[in-house]
Protein backbone atom coordinates (compact mmCIF):
# COMPACT_ATOMS: atom_id res chain seq x y z
CA UNK A 1 0.00 0.00 0.00
CA UNK A 2 1.37 3.38 -0.93
CA UNK A 3 -0.65 6.20 0.54
CA UNK A 4 -0.17 9.71 -0.78
CA UNK A 5 1.84 12.07 1.34
CA UNK A 6 -1.23 13.81 2.69
CA UNK A 7 -2.58 10.42 3.75
CA UNK A 8 0.65 9.79 5.63
CA UNK A 9 0.18 13.12 7.36
CA UNK A 10 -3.35 12.11 8.31
CA UNK A 11 -2.09 8.81 9.63
CA UNK A 12 0.56 10.61 11.65
CA UNK A 13 -2.06 12.89 13.12
CA UNK A 14 -4.23 9.91 14.06
CA UNK A 15 -1.25 8.23 15.71
CA UNK A 16 -0.54 11.39 17.69
CA UNK A 17 -4.13 11.45 18.93
CA UNK A 18 -3.81 7.81 19.98
CA UNK A 19 -0.64 8.61 21.89
CA UNK A 20 -2.22 11.48 23.80
CA UNK A 21 -5.23 9.32 24.67
CA UNK A 22 -3.11 6.30 25.66
CA UNK A 23 -0.86 8.28 27.93
CA UNK A 24 -3.78 10.31 29.22
CA UNK A 25 -5.77 7.20 30.13
CA UNK A 26 -2.72 5.48 31.62
CA UNK A 27 -1.73 8.71 33.42
CA UNK A 28 1.81 7.58 32.73
CA UNK A 29 4.22 7.42 29.82
CA UNK A 30 6.61 9.57 27.84
CA UNK A 31 4.49 11.85 25.72
CA UNK A 32 6.94 14.27 24.15
CA UNK A 33 9.47 11.62 23.07
CA UNK A 34 6.69 9.47 21.65
CA UNK A 35 5.45 12.36 19.53
CA UNK A 36 8.87 13.13 18.05
CA UNK A 37 9.12 9.74 16.32
CA UNK A 38 5.59 9.49 14.91
CA UNK A 39 6.41 10.60 11.37
CA UNK A 40 9.43 8.30 11.18
CA UNK A 41 7.34 5.35 12.33
CA UNK A 42 4.49 6.14 9.95
CA UNK A 43 7.01 6.38 7.13
CA UNK A 44 8.56 3.04 8.08
CA UNK A 45 5.36 1.12 8.71
CA UNK A 46 3.44 2.35 5.67
CA UNK A 47 6.20 2.95 3.13
CA UNK A 48 9.26 0.87 3.99
CA UNK A 49 8.78 -2.28 6.03
CA UNK A 50 7.71 -5.50 4.42
CA UNK A 51 5.35 -7.09 6.95
CA UNK A 52 2.42 -9.43 7.33
CA UNK A 53 0.27 -8.19 10.22
CA UNK A 54 -1.81 -11.37 10.06
CA UNK A 55 1.40 -13.37 10.45
CA UNK A 56 3.57 -11.30 12.83
CA UNK A 57 6.33 -13.92 13.02
CA UNK A 58 6.61 -14.24 9.22
CA UNK A 59 10.23 -15.26 8.77
CA UNK A 60 10.97 -13.00 5.82
CA UNK A 61 9.57 -9.83 7.33
CA UNK A 62 11.67 -6.75 7.83
CA UNK A 63 12.52 -6.19 11.48
CA UNK A 64 12.09 -3.09 13.55
CA UNK A 65 13.97 -2.48 16.80
CA UNK A 66 12.92 0.44 18.99
CA UNK A 67 16.03 1.44 20.91
CA UNK A 68 14.28 4.30 22.66
CA UNK A 69 11.71 2.03 24.26
CA UNK A 70 10.04 4.90 26.10
CA UNK A 71 8.65 6.00 22.75
CA UNK A 72 6.61 2.80 22.52
CA UNK A 73 3.17 4.45 22.60
CA UNK A 74 3.97 5.59 19.05
CA UNK A 75 4.97 2.06 18.07
CA UNK A 76 1.88 0.54 19.71
CA UNK A 77 -0.45 2.89 17.89
CA UNK A 78 1.25 2.21 14.57
CA UNK A 79 1.05 -1.55 15.14
CA UNK A 80 -2.62 -1.33 16.09
CA UNK A 81 -3.38 0.79 13.05
CA UNK A 82 -1.65 -1.77 10.89
CA UNK A 83 -3.85 -4.44 12.46
CA UNK A 84 -1.26 -6.36 14.41
CA UNK A 85 -3.71 -6.35 17.32
CA UNK A 86 -7.08 -4.75 18.15
CA UNK A 87 -7.09 -1.04 18.86
CA UNK A 88 -8.84 -1.68 22.18
CA UNK A 89 -5.50 -2.85 23.55
CA UNK A 90 -4.22 0.72 23.34
CA UNK A 91 -6.40 1.78 26.22
CA UNK A 92 -4.92 -0.68 28.68
CA UNK A 93 -1.35 0.44 27.98
CA UNK A 94 0.70 0.23 31.22
CA UNK A 95 -2.10 -1.52 33.15
CA UNK A 96 -1.56 -4.67 35.17
CA UNK A 97 -1.60 -7.70 32.86
CA UNK A 98 -1.74 -5.57 29.71
CA UNK A 99 -0.44 -6.69 26.34
CA UNK A 100 1.10 -3.24 25.97
CA UNK A 101 3.73 -2.86 28.68
CA UNK A 102 5.51 0.32 29.68
CA UNK A 103 8.40 -0.74 27.46
CA UNK A 104 8.29 -3.12 24.48
CA UNK A 105 8.21 -6.84 25.25
CA UNK A 106 8.64 -9.39 22.48
CA UNK A 107 6.68 -12.15 24.13
CA UNK A 108 3.61 -10.06 24.89
CA UNK A 109 3.00 -7.91 21.86
CA UNK A 110 2.51 -9.11 18.27
CA UNK A 111 4.70 -7.07 15.94
CA UNK A 112 7.34 -6.20 18.54
CA UNK A 113 10.60 -7.68 17.24
CA UNK A 114 12.96 -6.85 20.09
CA UNK A 115 12.85 -6.00 23.77
CA UNK A 116 13.36 -2.40 24.81
CA UNK A 117 13.68 -0.34 27.92
CA UNK A 118 17.38 -0.20 28.61
CA UNK A 119 18.85 2.61 26.55
CA UNK A 120 21.74 2.08 24.18
CA UNK A 121 20.93 -1.54 23.46
CA UNK A 122 18.81 -1.46 20.33
CA UNK A 123 21.65 -1.48 17.83
CA UNK A 124 23.37 -4.51 19.39
CA UNK A 125 20.13 -6.47 19.13
CA UNK A 126 19.70 -5.31 15.54
CA UNK A 127 23.21 -6.54 14.75
CA UNK A 128 22.46 -9.97 16.16
CA UNK A 129 19.25 -10.16 14.14
CA UNK A 130 21.16 -9.05 11.05
CA UNK A 131 23.86 -11.71 11.49
CA UNK A 132 21.22 -14.39 11.98
CA UNK A 133 19.33 -13.32 8.85
CA UNK A 134 22.54 -13.15 6.85
CA UNK A 135 23.29 -16.73 7.89
CA UNK A 136 19.89 -17.73 6.58
CA UNK A 137 20.52 -15.86 3.31
CA UNK A 138 17.49 -13.77 4.05
CA UNK A 139 16.84 -10.53 2.20
CA UNK A 140 15.08 -9.01 5.20
CA UNK A 141 16.24 -5.65 6.44
CA UNK A 142 16.55 -4.36 9.99
CA UNK A 143 15.62 -0.84 11.03
CA UNK A 144 16.64 0.43 14.43
CA UNK A 145 15.33 3.70 15.83
CA UNK A 146 17.28 5.23 18.69
CA UNK A 147 17.11 8.45 20.65
CA UNK A 148 19.97 10.91 20.57
CA UNK A 149 20.58 10.97 24.32
CA UNK A 150 21.12 7.24 24.43
CA UNK A 151 24.18 7.60 22.21
CA UNK A 152 25.92 8.56 25.45
CA UNK A 153 25.72 4.90 26.47
CA UNK A 154 29.07 3.21 25.80
CA UNK A 155 27.42 0.02 24.59
CA UNK A 156 26.03 1.90 21.59
CA UNK A 157 29.54 2.48 20.26
CA UNK A 158 30.54 -1.13 20.79
CA UNK A 159 27.60 -2.07 18.63
CA UNK A 160 28.34 0.67 16.10
CA UNK A 161 31.77 -0.92 15.60
CA UNK A 162 30.23 -4.36 15.16
CA UNK A 163 27.75 -3.23 12.48
CA UNK A 164 30.56 -1.73 10.43
CA UNK A 165 33.06 -4.53 11.08
CA UNK A 166 30.62 -7.12 9.78
CA UNK A 167 29.48 -4.87 6.94
CA UNK A 168 25.86 -5.15 7.98
CA UNK A 169 24.39 -3.28 5.06
CA UNK A 170 20.90 -4.54 5.87
CA UNK A 171 20.97 -2.55 9.10
CA UNK A 172 19.59 0.97 9.00
CA UNK A 173 19.98 3.06 12.11
CA UNK A 174 17.68 6.04 12.52
CA UNK A 175 18.62 8.60 15.14
CA UNK A 176 15.77 10.68 16.53
CA UNK A 177 17.79 13.89 16.83
CA UNK A 178 15.55 16.13 18.90
CA UNK A 179 18.56 17.61 20.71
CA UNK A 180 16.99 16.92 24.09
CA UNK A 181 17.42 14.48 26.93
CA UNK A 182 15.94 14.20 30.41
CA UNK A 183 17.65 17.12 32.07
CA UNK A 184 18.22 19.44 29.13
CA UNK A 185 20.03 19.70 25.83
CA UNK A 186 22.30 16.86 24.73
CA UNK A 187 25.05 19.27 23.86
CA UNK A 188 25.00 20.82 27.32
CA UNK A 189 24.85 17.57 29.26
CA UNK A 190 27.23 15.40 27.22
CA UNK A 191 27.80 16.46 23.66
CA UNK A 192 27.37 13.82 21.00
CA UNK A 193 28.30 16.03 18.08
CA UNK A 194 29.81 15.94 15.52
CA UNK A 195 27.50 12.98 15.03
CA UNK A 196 27.87 12.64 11.31
CA UNK A 197 31.67 12.67 11.51
CA UNK A 198 31.73 10.23 14.38
CA UNK A 199 29.54 7.65 12.70
CA UNK A 200 31.31 8.12 9.36
CA UNK A 201 34.61 7.48 11.10
CA UNK A 202 33.08 4.33 12.60
CA UNK A 203 32.40 3.08 9.06
CA UNK A 204 28.79 4.12 8.53
CA UNK A 205 27.04 5.78 5.63
CA UNK A 206 25.31 8.75 7.17
CA UNK A 207 22.49 10.92 5.81
CA UNK A 208 20.53 13.66 7.44
CA UNK A 209 16.91 14.52 6.97
CA UNK A 210 13.94 16.31 8.45
CA UNK A 211 12.29 13.64 10.56
CA UNK A 212 8.88 15.25 10.19
CA UNK A 213 8.93 15.67 6.40
CA UNK A 214 7.98 12.63 4.35
CA UNK A 215 9.72 13.93 1.23
CA UNK A 216 12.91 14.42 3.17
CA UNK A 217 12.61 10.94 4.70
CA UNK A 218 12.03 9.48 1.25
CA UNK A 219 15.17 11.11 -0.12
CA UNK A 220 17.31 10.01 2.80
CA UNK A 221 16.15 6.40 2.59
CA UNK A 222 16.64 6.40 -1.18
CA UNK A 223 20.15 7.82 -0.85
CA UNK A 224 21.13 5.16 1.69
CA UNK A 225 19.80 2.43 -0.52
CA UNK A 226 22.58 3.07 -3.01
CA UNK A 227 25.43 2.51 -0.59
CA UNK A 228 27.00 -0.92 -0.51
CA UNK A 229 28.83 -2.86 2.15
CA UNK A 230 28.27 -0.41 4.96
CA UNK A 231 25.53 -0.03 7.52
CA UNK A 232 23.40 3.03 6.95
CA UNK A 233 22.43 5.77 9.36
CA UNK A 234 19.84 8.49 9.05
CA UNK A 235 20.09 11.38 11.44
CA UNK A 236 16.49 12.55 11.53
CA UNK A 237 16.15 16.07 12.86
CA UNK A 238 13.03 16.14 14.98
CA UNK A 239 11.20 18.20 17.57
CA UNK A 240 10.38 16.86 20.99
CA UNK A 241 6.60 16.97 21.48
CA UNK A 242 6.04 17.48 17.76
CA UNK A 243 2.44 18.29 16.87
CA UNK A 244 1.42 19.91 20.13
CA UNK A 245 2.55 23.50 20.13
CA UNK A 246 2.62 24.03 23.88
CA UNK A 247 4.70 20.86 24.28
CA UNK A 248 7.13 21.80 21.54
CA UNK A 249 7.75 25.09 23.30
CA UNK A 250 7.89 23.64 26.78
CA UNK A 251 11.29 24.32 28.32
CA UNK A 252 10.90 21.34 30.65
CA UNK A 253 11.02 19.09 27.59
CA UNK A 254 7.48 17.86 27.95
CA UNK A 255 7.55 16.78 31.54
CA UNK A 256 4.48 18.82 32.49
CA UNK A 257 1.70 17.07 34.35
CA UNK A 258 -0.76 15.17 32.18
CA UNK A 259 -4.03 16.44 33.55
CA UNK A 260 -7.42 16.11 31.94
CA UNK A 261 -7.30 19.74 30.80
CA UNK A 262 -3.96 19.15 29.19
CA UNK A 263 -5.20 16.12 27.30
CA UNK A 264 -8.26 17.89 26.01
CA UNK A 265 -6.24 20.87 24.91
CA UNK A 266 -3.74 18.62 23.14
CA UNK A 267 -6.46 16.62 21.41
CA UNK A 268 -8.24 19.79 20.29
CA UNK A 269 -5.05 21.02 18.69
CA UNK A 270 -4.49 17.68 16.94
CA UNK A 271 -8.12 17.51 15.77
CA UNK A 272 -7.65 20.86 14.08
CA UNK A 273 -5.08 19.01 12.01
CA UNK A 274 -1.90 20.93 12.50
CA UNK A 275 0.62 18.77 10.77
Amino acid sequence: MTPELHDLAELASAVRRDIVRMIGVARSGHLASSLSIVDILVWLYWEVLSLRPEEPAWEDRDRFVLGKGHGCPALYSVLANRNFFPREELWSYRRLGAMLQGFPEVRRTPGVDAPGGSLGQGLGLANGISLALRGKSSSSRIFCLVGDGELQEGIFWESAMTSAHYGLENVTLIIDRDMRQMEGSTETIMSIEPLRDKLSAFGWNVRECDGHDFDSLRQAFAALGKSGGKPGCIVALTRLGKGISFLENDPSGGRMVLGRDFMEKALRELEKGGD
Binding site: P115, G124, N127, G128, I129, A132, G154, E158, S159, M161
Partner: protein, 316 residues
Protein backbone atom coordinates in the same frame (compact mmCIF):
# COMPACT_ATOMS: atom_id res chain seq x y z
CA UNK B 1 43.58 -35.96 27.16
CA UNK B 2 43.88 -38.46 29.96
CA UNK B 3 41.28 -38.67 32.65
CA UNK B 4 41.97 -36.17 35.38
CA UNK B 5 43.74 -33.77 33.04
CA UNK B 6 40.59 -32.34 31.62
CA UNK B 7 38.78 -29.22 32.66
CA UNK B 8 35.11 -28.36 32.37
CA UNK B 9 36.03 -25.76 29.75
CA UNK B 10 37.58 -28.54 27.65
CA UNK B 11 34.25 -30.34 27.84
CA UNK B 12 32.44 -27.21 26.69
CA UNK B 13 34.60 -26.97 23.58
CA UNK B 14 34.07 -30.65 22.82
CA UNK B 15 30.31 -30.46 23.40
CA UNK B 16 30.02 -27.56 20.96
CA UNK B 17 31.73 -29.58 18.23
CA UNK B 18 29.46 -32.54 18.80
CA UNK B 19 26.34 -30.40 18.95
CA UNK B 20 27.25 -28.37 15.89
CA UNK B 21 27.33 -31.48 13.75
CA UNK B 22 23.71 -32.25 14.50
CA UNK B 23 22.33 -28.72 14.97
CA UNK B 24 22.90 -26.39 12.05
CA UNK B 25 21.31 -23.54 13.97
CA UNK B 26 23.94 -23.59 16.71
CA UNK B 27 26.09 -20.46 16.71
CA UNK B 28 28.77 -19.14 19.06
CA UNK B 29 29.53 -15.56 20.11
CA UNK B 30 33.01 -14.92 21.42
CA UNK B 31 34.78 -11.94 22.98
CA UNK B 32 38.38 -12.50 21.92
CA UNK B 33 39.05 -15.27 24.42
CA UNK B 34 38.15 -18.23 22.22
CA UNK B 35 41.35 -20.14 22.92
CA UNK B 36 40.79 -19.88 26.65
CA UNK B 37 37.10 -20.75 26.56
CA UNK B 38 37.86 -23.61 24.15
CA UNK B 39 35.57 -22.38 21.38
CA UNK B 40 38.39 -21.91 18.88
CA UNK B 41 38.05 -25.42 17.48
CA UNK B 42 34.41 -24.67 16.78
CA UNK B 43 35.48 -21.41 15.15
CA UNK B 44 37.91 -23.28 12.90
CA UNK B 45 35.37 -25.87 11.81
CA UNK B 46 32.32 -23.62 11.56
CA UNK B 47 33.57 -20.13 10.70
CA UNK B 48 30.16 -19.05 9.36
CA UNK B 49 28.56 -19.82 12.69
CA UNK B 50 31.14 -18.10 14.84
CA UNK B 51 30.98 -14.40 15.68
CA UNK B 52 33.66 -12.53 17.55
CA UNK B 53 32.73 -9.02 18.56
CA UNK B 54 36.09 -8.29 20.08
CA UNK B 55 36.62 -7.23 23.65
CA UNK B 56 33.07 -6.08 24.17
CA UNK B 57 31.12 -8.20 26.62
CA UNK B 58 28.03 -6.01 26.59
CA UNK B 59 27.84 -6.22 22.82
CA UNK B 60 28.44 -9.99 23.01
CA UNK B 61 25.26 -10.40 25.02
CA UNK B 62 23.19 -8.15 22.76
CA UNK B 63 24.50 -9.84 19.62
CA UNK B 64 23.66 -13.20 21.16
CA UNK B 65 20.17 -12.00 22.09
CA UNK B 66 19.60 -10.73 18.55
CA UNK B 67 20.68 -14.07 17.10
CA UNK B 68 18.33 -15.84 19.52
CA UNK B 69 15.45 -13.57 18.48
CA UNK B 70 15.77 -15.19 15.05
CA UNK B 71 15.52 -18.67 16.51
CA UNK B 72 19.18 -19.64 16.53
CA UNK B 73 20.68 -21.76 19.30
CA UNK B 74 23.22 -19.33 20.71
CA UNK B 75 26.18 -19.96 23.01
CA UNK B 76 28.02 -16.91 24.28
CA UNK B 77 31.14 -17.46 26.32
CA UNK B 78 33.89 -15.51 27.97
CA UNK B 79 35.57 -15.12 31.33
CA UNK B 80 32.77 -15.03 33.86
CA UNK B 81 34.10 -11.92 35.62
CA UNK B 82 33.54 -9.87 32.52
CA UNK B 83 30.74 -11.73 30.78
CA UNK B 84 28.27 -11.71 33.65
CA UNK B 85 29.94 -8.88 35.53
CA UNK B 86 30.10 -6.27 32.80
CA UNK B 87 27.30 -7.82 30.77
CA UNK B 88 24.92 -8.16 33.71
CA UNK B 89 22.52 -5.46 32.68
CA UNK B 90 22.40 -6.69 29.09
CA UNK B 91 21.70 -10.20 30.37
CA UNK B 92 18.92 -8.82 32.52
CA UNK B 93 17.15 -6.70 29.93
CA UNK B 94 17.90 -8.52 26.67
CA UNK B 95 18.03 -12.17 27.78
CA UNK B 96 16.35 -12.76 31.13
CA UNK B 97 13.31 -10.47 30.89
CA UNK B 98 12.38 -11.60 27.35
CA UNK B 99 13.37 -15.15 28.39
CA UNK B 100 15.45 -15.76 25.28
CA UNK B 101 17.18 -19.13 25.06
CA UNK B 102 20.71 -17.72 25.15
CA UNK B 103 23.24 -20.09 26.70
CA UNK B 104 25.69 -18.01 28.71
CA UNK B 105 28.89 -19.82 29.53
CA UNK B 106 31.22 -18.25 32.09
CA UNK B 107 34.66 -19.75 32.30
CA UNK B 108 37.52 -19.05 34.72
CA UNK B 109 35.35 -19.10 37.82
CA UNK B 110 36.57 -19.21 41.38
CA UNK B 111 39.95 -18.93 43.06
CA UNK B 112 41.34 -21.89 41.11
CA UNK B 113 41.89 -19.47 38.23
CA UNK B 114 45.12 -19.02 40.16
CA UNK B 115 47.83 -16.50 39.42
CA UNK B 116 45.66 -13.89 37.68
CA UNK B 117 44.20 -12.94 41.04
CA UNK B 118 41.06 -11.23 42.24
CA UNK B 119 39.99 -9.41 39.08
CA UNK B 120 39.72 -12.68 37.17
CA UNK B 121 38.52 -14.99 39.93
CA UNK B 122 34.75 -14.74 39.64
CA UNK B 123 33.14 -15.56 42.96
CA UNK B 124 29.73 -13.95 42.58
CA UNK B 125 28.46 -15.26 39.23
CA UNK B 126 26.05 -17.72 40.80
CA UNK B 127 24.59 -14.93 42.93
CA UNK B 128 24.13 -12.71 39.88
CA UNK B 129 22.55 -15.37 37.70
CA UNK B 130 20.55 -17.22 40.35
CA UNK B 131 18.39 -14.19 41.11
CA UNK B 132 16.75 -14.23 37.69
CA UNK B 133 13.36 -15.95 37.74
CA UNK B 134 13.86 -17.89 34.53
CA UNK B 135 17.60 -18.53 34.42
CA UNK B 136 18.76 -22.13 34.79
CA UNK B 137 22.14 -22.18 36.54
CA UNK B 138 24.38 -25.20 36.06
CA UNK B 139 27.72 -25.96 37.71
CA UNK B 140 29.35 -29.13 36.41
CA UNK B 141 31.95 -30.80 38.61
CA UNK B 142 34.01 -32.56 35.97
CA UNK B 143 34.51 -33.24 32.29
CA UNK B 144 31.77 -35.85 31.84
CA UNK B 145 29.08 -33.88 33.65
CA UNK B 146 30.07 -30.69 31.83
CA UNK B 147 29.86 -32.46 28.48
CA UNK B 148 26.43 -33.80 29.33
CA UNK B 149 25.07 -30.55 30.78
CA UNK B 150 26.23 -28.42 27.86
CA UNK B 151 24.43 -30.83 25.54
CA UNK B 152 21.30 -30.76 27.69
CA UNK B 153 21.35 -26.97 27.72
CA UNK B 154 21.16 -27.03 23.96
CA UNK B 155 17.62 -28.39 24.14
CA UNK B 156 16.41 -25.69 26.51
CA UNK B 157 14.11 -22.93 25.32
CA UNK B 158 14.93 -20.53 28.15
CA UNK B 159 18.11 -18.78 29.37
CA UNK B 160 20.87 -20.90 30.86
CA UNK B 161 24.06 -20.00 32.70
CA UNK B 162 26.83 -22.60 32.84
CA UNK B 163 29.79 -22.12 35.15
CA UNK B 164 33.14 -23.50 34.06
CA UNK B 165 36.55 -23.68 35.65
CA UNK B 166 39.99 -23.08 34.24
CA UNK B 167 41.97 -25.81 35.98
CA UNK B 168 41.69 -29.52 35.17
CA UNK B 169 39.30 -31.24 37.53
CA UNK B 170 39.48 -34.84 38.79
CA UNK B 171 36.97 -37.17 37.18
CA UNK B 172 33.87 -37.84 39.27
CA UNK B 173 31.73 -39.46 36.63
CA UNK B 174 32.50 -42.04 34.01
CA UNK B 175 32.85 -41.03 30.39
CA UNK B 176 29.53 -41.18 28.64
CA UNK B 177 27.49 -40.66 31.80
CA UNK B 178 24.53 -38.69 30.55
CA UNK B 179 22.29 -38.72 33.59
CA UNK B 180 22.23 -34.99 34.20
CA UNK B 181 19.17 -32.81 33.87
CA UNK B 182 18.49 -29.16 34.67
CA UNK B 183 16.88 -29.13 38.08
CA UNK B 184 18.58 -32.38 38.99
CA UNK B 185 21.22 -33.45 41.47
CA UNK B 186 23.18 -36.64 41.94
CA UNK B 187 23.54 -38.52 45.18
CA UNK B 188 27.13 -39.67 44.94
CA UNK B 189 27.37 -41.18 48.39
CA UNK B 190 24.49 -42.30 50.56
CA UNK B 191 24.69 -41.52 54.24
CA UNK B 192 22.54 -41.16 57.35
CA UNK B 193 24.26 -38.58 59.53
CA UNK B 194 24.93 -35.41 57.56
CA UNK B 195 23.94 -34.10 54.11
CA UNK B 196 26.66 -32.42 52.06
CA UNK B 197 25.34 -30.32 49.19
CA UNK B 198 28.12 -29.27 46.85
CA UNK B 199 28.93 -28.19 43.31
CA UNK B 200 31.90 -27.66 41.02
CA UNK B 201 35.33 -28.43 42.43
CA UNK B 202 33.84 -28.94 45.89
CA UNK B 203 32.23 -32.20 44.80
CA UNK B 204 35.61 -33.91 44.77
CA UNK B 205 36.43 -32.35 48.14
CA UNK B 206 33.11 -33.51 49.56
CA UNK B 207 33.78 -37.09 48.52
CA UNK B 208 37.17 -36.94 50.23
CA UNK B 209 35.50 -35.45 53.29
CA UNK B 210 32.98 -38.28 53.31
CA UNK B 211 35.86 -40.78 53.44
CA UNK B 212 37.41 -38.96 56.39
CA UNK B 213 34.06 -38.68 58.20
CA UNK B 214 33.41 -42.38 57.67
CA UNK B 215 36.54 -43.15 59.66
CA UNK B 216 34.95 -41.18 62.52
CA UNK B 217 31.73 -43.16 62.15
CA UNK B 218 29.84 -40.24 60.64
CA UNK B 219 28.18 -41.27 57.44
CA UNK B 220 27.85 -38.34 55.03
CA UNK B 221 25.42 -38.18 52.16
CA UNK B 222 27.02 -36.29 49.28
CA UNK B 223 24.73 -34.62 46.73
CA UNK B 224 26.23 -33.03 43.65
CA UNK B 225 23.89 -30.04 43.26
CA UNK B 226 25.06 -29.30 39.73
CA UNK B 227 21.74 -27.58 39.11
CA UNK B 228 22.02 -24.59 41.42
CA UNK B 229 18.85 -23.11 39.99
CA UNK B 230 16.39 -24.71 40.03
CA UNK B 231 17.74 -26.71 42.95
CA UNK B 232 17.16 -30.46 43.25
CA UNK B 233 14.80 -29.59 46.08
CA UNK B 234 13.20 -32.98 46.63
CA UNK B 235 16.53 -34.75 46.85
CA UNK B 236 17.90 -32.24 49.32
CA UNK B 237 14.81 -32.24 51.52
CA UNK B 238 14.51 -36.00 51.48
CA UNK B 239 18.14 -36.20 52.58
CA UNK B 240 17.95 -33.66 55.41
CA UNK B 241 14.82 -35.40 56.69
CA UNK B 242 17.01 -38.41 57.34
CA UNK B 243 20.21 -36.69 58.45
CA UNK B 244 18.85 -33.64 60.28
CA UNK B 245 21.80 -31.43 59.32
CA UNK B 246 23.52 -30.05 56.25
CA UNK B 247 26.78 -28.64 54.90
CA UNK B 248 26.85 -26.66 51.64
CA UNK B 249 30.20 -26.33 49.87
CA UNK B 250 31.03 -24.20 46.85
CA UNK B 251 33.86 -22.22 45.24
CA UNK B 252 31.87 -19.00 45.48
CA UNK B 253 31.13 -16.22 47.90
CA UNK B 254 29.09 -17.46 50.84
CA UNK B 255 26.65 -14.75 49.87
CA UNK B 256 24.24 -15.57 47.10
CA UNK B 257 25.42 -18.97 45.96
CA UNK B 258 24.45 -22.60 46.48
CA UNK B 259 24.73 -22.41 50.27
CA UNK B 260 22.20 -19.64 50.63
CA UNK B 261 19.90 -21.36 48.16
CA UNK B 262 20.03 -24.57 50.19
CA UNK B 263 19.59 -22.70 53.49
CA UNK B 264 16.57 -20.88 52.10
CA UNK B 265 15.00 -24.08 50.83
CA UNK B 266 15.62 -25.98 54.05
CA UNK B 267 14.55 -23.20 56.40
CA UNK B 268 11.22 -22.92 54.66
CA UNK B 269 10.43 -26.62 54.41
CA UNK B 270 12.25 -28.58 57.10
CA UNK B 271 14.58 -26.42 59.20
CA UNK B 272 17.88 -28.06 60.07
CA UNK B 273 21.28 -26.44 60.72
CA UNK B 274 23.13 -25.55 57.50
CA UNK B 275 26.78 -24.57 57.54
CA UNK B 276 28.54 -23.12 54.53
CA UNK B 277 31.98 -23.89 53.21
CA UNK B 278 32.65 -21.01 50.82
CA UNK B 279 34.61 -17.76 50.47
CA UNK B 280 33.61 -15.37 53.23
CA UNK B 281 33.81 -11.61 52.92
CA UNK B 282 36.95 -11.29 50.86
CA UNK B 283 38.06 -11.34 47.26
CA UNK B 284 40.56 -13.73 45.74
CA UNK B 285 44.25 -13.02 45.10
CA UNK B 286 47.23 -14.38 43.18
CA UNK B 287 48.66 -17.76 43.97
CA UNK B 288 48.65 -21.30 42.67
CA UNK B 289 45.22 -22.96 42.50
CA UNK B 290 46.15 -25.46 45.20
CA UNK B 291 47.51 -22.78 47.52
CA UNK B 292 44.42 -20.67 47.04
CA UNK B 293 42.06 -23.55 47.67
CA UNK B 294 43.85 -24.18 50.95
CA UNK B 295 44.06 -20.49 51.87
CA UNK B 296 40.35 -19.89 51.29
CA UNK B 297 39.33 -23.07 53.07
CA UNK B 298 37.80 -24.77 50.04
CA UNK B 299 38.99 -28.18 51.16
CA UNK B 300 37.83 -31.56 52.38
CA UNK B 301 39.10 -30.79 55.87
CA UNK B 302 36.89 -27.69 56.08
CA UNK B 303 33.90 -29.78 55.01
CA UNK B 304 34.76 -32.33 57.70
CA UNK B 305 34.96 -29.60 60.31
CA UNK B 306 31.65 -28.07 59.21
CA UNK B 307 30.01 -31.51 59.13
CA UNK B 308 31.04 -32.26 62.70
CA UNK B 309 29.71 -28.88 63.84
CA UNK B 310 26.28 -29.26 62.21
CA UNK B 311 26.08 -32.87 63.34
CA UNK B 312 26.33 -31.75 66.99
CA UNK B 313 23.50 -29.28 66.30
CA UNK B 314 21.43 -31.70 64.22
CA UNK B 315 17.66 -31.89 64.38
CA UNK B 316 16.67 -35.14 66.07
Amino acid sequence: MAAGERSTRDAFGQALLELADIDEELVVVDGDVGSSTRVSRFAGRFPDRFFSVGMAEQDMILTAAGLALCGLNVYVSSFASFLVGRGYEQIRSAVAIPSLPVKIVGSHCGVTVGEDGASHQMLEDLALMRVFPNMTVLVPADYASALSLVKKSSEMASPVYIRLGRAPSPDIYGDGDDGFVPGGGRVLREGADVTVCCCGIMVFEALRAADILARQNISAEVIDCYSVSPLPAQQILESVHRTGCCVAAEEHFARGGLGEAVASLVSGAYPVPVKQVAVFDRFGQSGSPAELQEYYGLTASQIVSAAVQVWTMRRR
